[in-house]
């Protein structure tokens, strides 16, 4: 060794920052849990009339084996749930004060119990089908989940996809028309992503090639999609609705054996093809994004495009490909509205779900699994709103219809400070 002995190394690595002081995890979420737990205990628990019961059917009439419906006496159940919720919230606050964040399962358990408590309270005095509720939740989550996947495919590569709404809409339109004309529902299922792809080409052209502000292009494409489909609906579909707008629908497919499992079977395995495609997509996307060369490169492009460029990755080609892939995915999700659900196309039938899909993507932290979870949450809220609107509930039905949107605001406001998206999302990459 020369005089450059590494004896001069500092005792500790040079950290960028100083020593931590009594670190406190943010209290926002635990306190929110506390308030909601008190609401659950006070309103759903002690606020419930004694002696009332709620009835939940857990098998469909068509099931081979019938199970007795669940009859729950409201007040004892909600009080018990309320006490557990208060305890969970207290635990979460205690953890936060000790500088630890609550584990995810605590939050999940809390959400499940709170929702159960609400459900028992609101159904009090009447009955509803749990199978229908959960089956419908999953079904309604389909366009949200595909939309969120479409969004995250773009954003992971650094392009903000505000145009999910438009992609869902053109997907729905194309699926309805093509399925009607060909009489083949699967042709519709192919047409939907193609329509999304075409809209994606426009998005990619303007955002990637011409580096136009991504938000503006996205909004403009949404307006274009609404205008175009509404015009075509009025001008072409309405006069010829029997030939152009009466598509066949995707039938539920029962998976042998597993579809016979009580509750789980009808909810997960007696659904239409789009739902099964969703199962496949979530695994495939997770693997692709986090386990393959393609995924690593896409994420690099979305986080630090010049770093990707300097190791020989073509940033704009990657972005271009991801934008059209994402748009196609969202387009496929659009097929749900027509051939996967109601059948015929109606103007603006996506009803803002593209934006909720965007929220689901953020809430799901730009991961496929997280996005699916968030989509299920929103799907549950939508389904619950429609189920409860026919029951005689203590809350006005208009208020219940707000539920998914209120939930979106809470979820995004509660989490947005804690999540960090791809660093370069929204920033066009211009060389040199």
């Amino acid at each position: 060794m020369t005089a450059l002995a590494p004896a001069q190394k500092p005792a500790e690595p040079l950290a960028a920052n100083g020593s931590p002081v009594a670190r406190r995890a943010p209290l926002r979420i635990p306190v929110l849990l506390g308030i909601l737990a008190v609401v659950a205990l006070g309103v759903f628990g002690f606020g419930a009339k004694s002696g009332e019961t709620s009835t939940f059917a857990i098998s469909l009439r068509s099931d081979a084996v019938q199970f007795d419906p669940w009859v729950v006496s409201v007040r004892p159940t909600t009080i018990a749930l309320g006490v557990v919720l208060v305890a969970l919230a207290a635990w979460s606050i205690w953890l936060a004060l000790r500088g630890r964040t609550s584990p995810w399962w605590l939050l999940a358990l809390y959400g499940l119990l709170w929702a159960s408590s609400f459900l028992v309270w609101i159904v009090a005095g009447s009955s509803t089908s749990l199978v229908d509720l959960l089956q419908g939740s999953l079904l309604l989550a389909v366009p949200l989940a595909f939309g969120a996947f479409g969004g995250l495919l773009c954003e992971r590569a650094g392009v903000v996809n505000i145009a999910i709404e438009g992609q869902l809409l053109v997907g729905a339109f194309a699926a309805a028309v093509v399925a009607s004309v060909t009489g083949n529902v699967y042709a519709g299922l192919v047409a939907a992503p193609v329509a999304g792809y075409l809209l994606g080409l426009l998005l990619a052209l303007f955002t990637v090639k011409y580096a136009v502000n991504q938000i503006i292009v996205g909004v403009v494409l949404n307006v274009l999609a609404v205008g175009l489909t509404s015009f075509l609906f009025n001008a072409v579909l309405k006069p010829n609705s029997s030939t152009l707008n009466s598509p066949p629908r995707l039938d539920p497919i029962a998976i042998p054996l597993v579809s016979k499992i009580p509750l789980v079977g009808p909810v997960f395995f007696r659904q239409n093809l789009l739902v099964y495609l969703l199962y496949g997509a979530v695994f495939l996307l997770t693997w692709l994004l986090f386990r393959t060369r393609w995924g690593l490169r896409v994420r690099a492009v979305g986080e630090h495009p010049s770093a990707a460029d300097t190791v020989g990755i073509d940033v704009n080609r990657t972005r271009w490909r991801n934008v059209v892939a994402g748009s196609s995915t969202a387009g496929l999700g659009g097929a749900f509205f027509t051939i996967g659900y109601v059948g015929a196309f109606g103007p603006e039938m996506s009803g803002g779900r593209g934006y909720i899909a965007l929220a689901a993507m953020i809430l799901g932290r730009w991961t496929p699994v997280g996005s699916l979870g968030a989509a299920l949450l929103f799907g549950f809220a939508s389904k619950l709103a429609s189920v409860l609107s026919v029951l005689d509930t203590p809350l006005p039905s208009q208020f219940l219809l707000m539920l998914p949107y209120v939930l979106t605001i809470f979820a995004v406001a509660g989490f947005v400070g804690r999540v960090r998206g791809p660093a370069a999302a929204g920033v066009p990459y211009v060389k040199g």
Partner: protein, 522 residues
């Protein structure tokens, strides 16, 4: 491998960034490219690395002309580059960053992380340092991030390694370790192109020195050349590297910082119980590696950041808790460390930027309206006084060179009577000529009796300006020492070593640069 650049010319509009540059890099050689900021060194290297396409000229590798249309081509030809601004994905691990672009995969297409980890460890071990392949890059100190960059280039079998201003972010001791790595690489046959504007380092490590000025090669020099000669070649005229300054006429204490503690959003004490005072007529420099609380310290004094404890008094009046406007009105001038982010509005004109925090002054307004004539007159005066090279007061400030932008900021802050002048990194990214000028202005402000607080990560600057030096490490002041403290001692203190220990270690293990300065080749 031998690398040759023949007649490379690169133009950006009317600006000729590289003008017929010829350069030969021999195998196993450390070739220093010396030049000021904006001389065209980085442009040349970006051409070589395939990021820019040259307008004229060719690149020749082992007597074969090559054409690079993307960095991928340059990498394939065996050219690696460590960029001034690291090209690392902050949220990726070391292994992911190293394998990016040439990822090993297993059958079925999954990434083979295990062989990437092994690759990182192997390359790092070859050059005698440790690197945790699973560490997330954003959690690593900059010195280690730079090693990740080097490993990244070497993992792709780079035969020529371009290092663009690699020492800008390092302490003297880290620089030493880098120099040792560079020598090992050279001895193993790798050619190194070392881009810098720091004369000491060039003399310490280079085999050949090529000097670039205004896009042209102005000559080559031997590593034994005197610093003043190299500086003259670089700038094109004689420059004095020393600031002539009289001993300070120290007056009463103006700024008193007591037990100041500042906490960031994550609850980390970024400024931790700092005591510091600055008297009238003296320059106190806060030295330290970037990110040890200096920025937060001066931002708290200005009032853009709030403190959790302590006090900051200017001539006996408390500054904490007051608005930035109040603090400025109390006679504080502030030059932020990032002039393009915080010092200037790039799209505003030079004239507008020169009055950015003065527009409420009755000198520059008629009632609610701006007095455009006065603003224009002020701009012409300042441009003349500070020798700001601009097409005129109406030019957008963002179009000026770094040195001239900085002159605009400093001119604005010094154009009103001050009690305290704070300048953060006053000469970062500024050419040598402007550095000289700015340093003289800062000393002149001191001589008028203003208290001056400088934050600098450059030891040359600290040595040139400071009457006293406060060294910060992890939010604490490690020690306050006289301005003429040897740089080796300061360097060790910047790494958190207390003063006594630093003095002892500096004697036992002087850095390469110090040895060269003493005429004693290691």
């Amino acid at each position: 491998m031998q690398l040759e650049l023949r007649g490379i010319t690169k133009r950006f509009g009317a600006l000729v960034a590289n003008d017929h540059i010829d350069l030969v890099v021999e195998p196993g050689q450390i070739h220093a490219l010396l030049g000021e900021n904006g001389a065209g060194k980085s442009t040349l290297m970006n051409v070589l690395f395939g990021l820019y396409r040259p307008d004229e000229g060719e690149i020749v590798v082992d007597d074969e002309p090559v054409r690079f249309t993307s960095p991928g081509d340059a990498l394939a030809a065996g050219i690696g580059m460590v960029h001034q601004h690291f090209m690392l994905v902050p949220v990726f691990t070391v292994a992911e960053n190293v394998m990016l672009g040439h990822e090993p995969t297993r059958r079925g297409g999954s990434l083979d992380l295990e062989s990437a980890r092994t690759l990182v460890r192997d390359v790092a071990h070859r050059f005698g340092f440790d690197l945790d392949p699973d560490a997330v890059v954003e959690d690593l100190p900059v010195g280690v991030q730079q090693r990740v960059e080097i490993v990244k280039a070497l993992a792709r079998d780079a035969k020529v390694l371009i290092l663009d201003e690699p020492t800008a972010v390092l302490t003297p001791q880290e620089t030493d370790e880098l120099i040792e790595i560079m020598r090992q690489l050279r001895d193993a046959g790798t050619s190194i192109v070392f881009i810098t504007h720091k004369l000491r380092e060039v003399r310490a490590v280079a085999d050949v020195i090529t000097v670039v000025r205004r896009g042209r090669i102005v000559g080559t020099a031997e590593p034994t050349a005197a610093e003043n000669d190299l500086a003259a070649m670089m700038v094109g005229r004689d420059v004095s590297l020393q600031v002539d300054k009289a001993p300070p006429q120290v007056g009463d204490v103006a700024l008193e910082i007591d037990d100041l503690t500042v906490v960031d959003a994550l609850g980390t004490r970024v400024v931790d119980g700092v005591d510091l005072s600055v008297a009238r007529g003296e320059i106190v420099a806060v030295a330290g590696v970037q990110g040890n609380g200096q920025t937060e310290l001066v931002e708290t004094v200005l009032g853009v950041r709030s403190a959790v404890a302590g006090s900051v008094r200017l001539d006996g009046t408390e500054l904490l808790g007051r608005s930035v406007r109040d603090v400025l009105d109390a006679g504080v001038g502030f030059v932020p460390e990032d002039r393009t982010e915080d010092g200037l509005v790039a799209d505003f004109t030079v004239a507008e930027n020169l009055v950015l925090d003065l527009v409420h002054d009755t000198r520059f307004r008629h009632g609610l309206a701006l007095d455009l004539a006065a603003i224009g007159a002020n701009a012409r005066e300042r441009i003349a006084e500070y020798d700001i090279r601009t097409q005129g007061p109406g030019q957008a400030a963002g179009k000026l060179s770094g040195g001239n932008q900085q002159k605009v900021v400093v001119a604005r802050e010094l154009s009103r009577p001050l009690r305290l002048f704070i300048a953060s990194q006053p000469t970062r990214g500024v050419d040598v000529g402007s550095i000289e000028f700015l340093h003289r202005r800062i000393v002149a402000e001191r001589d008028q009796g203003t208290a001056v607080l400088i934050v600098s990560t450059e030891l040359e600057e600290v040595a040139a300006l400071a009457d006293r030096v406060a060294v910060m490490y992890r939010g604490k002041v490690v020690g306050i020492v006289p301005g003429d403290t040897p740089r080796d001692v300061l360097g060790l203190m910047m790494a958190g070593v207390p003063l006594d220990e630093a003095q002892r270690q500096a004697e036992d293990h002087p850095t390469v640069e110090t040895l060269i300065e003493e005429g004693d080749q290691p």
